[in-house]
């Protein structure tokens, strides 16, 4: 306990470490402020039209189906369609309806919309034979926002890794690591102290971030807390791994960079592109962050069926990595004196 007090004192002077925890919170506040502003429109189809070209009725019809932007000249319209960062579909008047323009680099979704839009427009006057049942979704309906929230939360939970790694590498560089060796402190208590530090930081950061940008129902509270605890523990442990492996701050930063990409990019991609039944999807569980990511996504979307599976996978990861770390750590002192003497 006393050791932990010194560890806490140690990080108080370390602005870098404190900042790592503040970053997700700042991002959470940013998302909270951003939510509702324009993010939803990104997922809607975008149409570009010319001034004084389409009839009033046609532009109203387009407006009901997507974002509508009006351009003064054909050149401006063509430039907007060809702009690689947009997915704008150009719509022009013909004798008996509309025709569409595309750049050719759009997603399949927008390509099909553009190809079929004139026919859909022609059919607009026919009375629909179908009764439309559109089920409204519960809160957090904005897909992009919930994705951003989950990304921020996963980052917050895995910030403990950055924190611990930075801390340990700093100690290595300042020579504290050598002093630690002659202090009457066992490797075990050192590990426990470090894991507790990273764990507390991650958990606090994730909790504050979730308070800012997520509404948790009472029934979800326990699984959510379990999720934070397991993820924060794994992340603190990962930090120990990086601290153990890297020699200097520079290599440490590179490891952290790779780790952050590895922990964030695959779950997002797998979640968005691959159906959960496929074997490839199961492969993504090799990364602990995937389980955290899917579980959070399910919590946000109120689909708790796979929650216990994800928690179990996190638990397995926690045990597995703890054992691996103990094995590595125990092996090192035997090989070290031989190498230096």
């Amino acid at each position: 306990m006393k050791g932990l007090k010194y560890q806490l004192k140690n990080i108080r002077r370390d602005k870098m470490c404190i900042l790592t925890f503040l970053l997700p919170i700042i991002a959470g506040i940013a998302i909270h402020l951003l939510s509702g502003v324009n993010l939803q429109t990104v997922s809607e189809a975008s149409f570009g039209i010319l001034k004084n070209d389409l009839s009033q009725e046609a532009s109203l019809w387009l407006k009901a189906n997507g974002n509508l932007t009006q351009y003064e000249t054909p050149e401006e319209l063509y430039a907007a369609i060809n702009d690689p960062s947009t997915q704008i579909i150009g719509v022009l008047k013909t004798d008996n309806g509309i025709r569409t323009l595309l750049s050719g680099d759009e997603l399949t979704l927008n390509k099909v919309i553009a190809d079929t839009l004139p026919q859909a427009y022609t059919g607009r006057t026919e009375k629909s034979p179908y009764t439309r049942t559109i089920i409204p979704v519960s809160e957090n309906a904005d897909g992009l926002t919930s994705l951003l929230i989950v990304i921020t939360l996963v980052t917050a939970m895995f910030m403990g890794a950055t924190f611990n790694a930075m801390n340990i590498i700093g100690e290595k560089e300042d020579g504290v690591a050598f002093i630690n060796r002659i202090l009457p402190m066992t490797a075990k208590s050192y590990i426990i102290q470090k894991i507790t530090l990273g764990f507390m930081g991650s958990a606090a950061s994730a909790l504050i971030t979730s308070l800012i940008c997520m509404q948790i129902k009472p029934s979800q509270l326990i699984p959510f807390l379990l999720l934070i605890i397991l993820s924060a523990y794994i992340s603190a442990l990962t930090g120990l791994f990086i601290g153990h492996l890297s020699e200097g701050l520079m290599t440490g930063i590179v490891y952290i960079k790779i780790l952050m990409i590895l922990f964030l990019a695959p779950p997002i991609l797998f979640y968005l592109t691959i159906p959960p039944q496929s074997p490839l999807f199961n492969l993504s569980y090799l990364l602990p962050s995937s389980a955290t990511f899917y579980a959070l996504m399910d919590l946000l979307n109120n689909q708790p069926d796979r929650l216990s599976l994800n928690l179990f996978i996190l638990f397995v990861h926690a045990i597995l990595w703890s054992v691996t770390y103990t094995l590595i750590k125990n092996k090192r002192p035997r090989s070290r004196p031989a190498a230096t003497s």
């Binding site: 189809a45 189906n65 690689p84 595309l102 997603l107 026919q119 859909a120 179908y130 049942t133």
Partner: protein, 330 residues
């Protein structure tokens, strides 16, 4: 004079090799290329799938977009992704069933799309006016982004790690009494980073945009990569000389990576329009790089004038800071 410069170059080169600078650059190159070629190129979003539950086969015409299901439950499960559109033709009056996507506009279009598919009106063709297909666009876009990120964030770090090592060894102190000018000291580092950044840019471009397309855009890309490399290296030099230790430097680095480059990516990638983004200097550098990759006409003379002015100013600033630092060290 020239001999002194040559020796400085040799020393800096060795420093970069021992700091594993080239190894890291190579690793990044491989990582980025693998991501682009195996993942990013294949990213796509399909049109809303249409699911049909039609036990009495009332619907004669089945288009390629329609998937048939056997029960009402299967229909509801298929639609639970808030993306698919379901049609239930089993009852008296046919029903369109779907979960809201969260946007009324998108929902409206989805229902229109579903009905268009069932009516069989899906054989139109939009006129194409662009020159890129989707894969080529993805390749150009992501390569521009990775190059920008690598040059602005990682290059900055590379120079600083080199300088901090020298600082620790006391090179700056020793430099005060050496017969080598301070400009040489800065220039040799700049030159090496410049060359390595250009090599990185060329390799990344050719590997990911393809040989023929890559070589076509390479001259323009190299110009902008060179400008960015010089600016970032000089800023890195300034920060590294000014800040006392690497830890404080990494704070600056983190702020730079998160708050300076992220808005640029969001604006450049999703096309979110923020009015203030034009006052963000990095945004113009990024857009210039991107238009170079798309072989689009880039910003005119003013852009180049400001860039070279900035480089000259930063060089003077770095020179001055180095002079002050050497005087301080005695």
């Amino acid at each position: 004079m020239l001999k002194g410069f040559f020796h400085l170059l040799k020393k800096d080169f060795r420093l970069m090799v021992s700091g594993k600078f080239f190894l890291l650059a190579l690793a990044s190159l491989l990582l980025y290329s693998c991501y682009i070629n195996f993942v990013y190129v294949n990213l796509d979003q399909d049109i809303y799938p249409v699911c049909l539950y039609d036990p009495q086969s009332k619907q004669p015409l089945i288009s390629e977009y329609v998937t048939k299901v056997d029960t009402r439950e299967a229909l509801e499960t298929a639609c639970s992704d808030r993306y698919s559109i379901g049609f239930d033709l089993s009852g008296e009056s046919p029903e369109l069933y779907m979960l809201s996507s969260g946007s009324d506009v998108t929902d409206h279009y989805r229902s229109i799309w579903g009905e268009t598919v069932l009516a069989g009106n899906t054989d139109g063709q939009a006129r194409l006016i662009g020159t890129n297909n989707k894969e080529m666009k993805n390749r150009r876009e992501i390569t521009a982004e990775f190059l920008f990120f690598e040059l602005s964030a990682v290059g900055f770090l590379g120079l600083a790690s080199m300088l901090f090592k020298e600082k620790q060894m006391g090179v700056i102190r020793v430099h005060g009494i050496l017969p080598v000018s301070k400009s040489m000291f800065i220039l040799s580092k700049l030159f090496l980073l410049f060359i390595s950044d250009l090599t990185f840019a060329a390799l990344l471009t050719v590997l990911n945009v393809g040989l023929s397309h890559g070589l076509a855009v390479l001259p323009a890309v190299l110009v902008h990569a060179g400008i960015l490399s010089l600016i970032m290296a000089l800023i890195g030099f300034f920060c590294a000389v000014r800040l006392p230790n690497f830890k404080q430097f990494s704070l600056v680095y983190l702020a730079l990576a998160v708050f300076v480059t992220t808005p640029v990516f969001i604006a450049g990638q999703i096309g979110v329009a923020w009015d203030w983004i034009v006052y963000h200097p990095m945004y113009h550098l990024f857009m210039a790089m991107k238009s170079a990759y798309f072989a689009a006409p880039s910003a005119g003379t003013i852009y180049y004038l400001i860039s070279f002015g900035a480089i000259a100013l930063l060089f003077l600033l770095a020179h001055r800071t180095l002079t002050i630092e050497i005087t301080k060290e005695g």
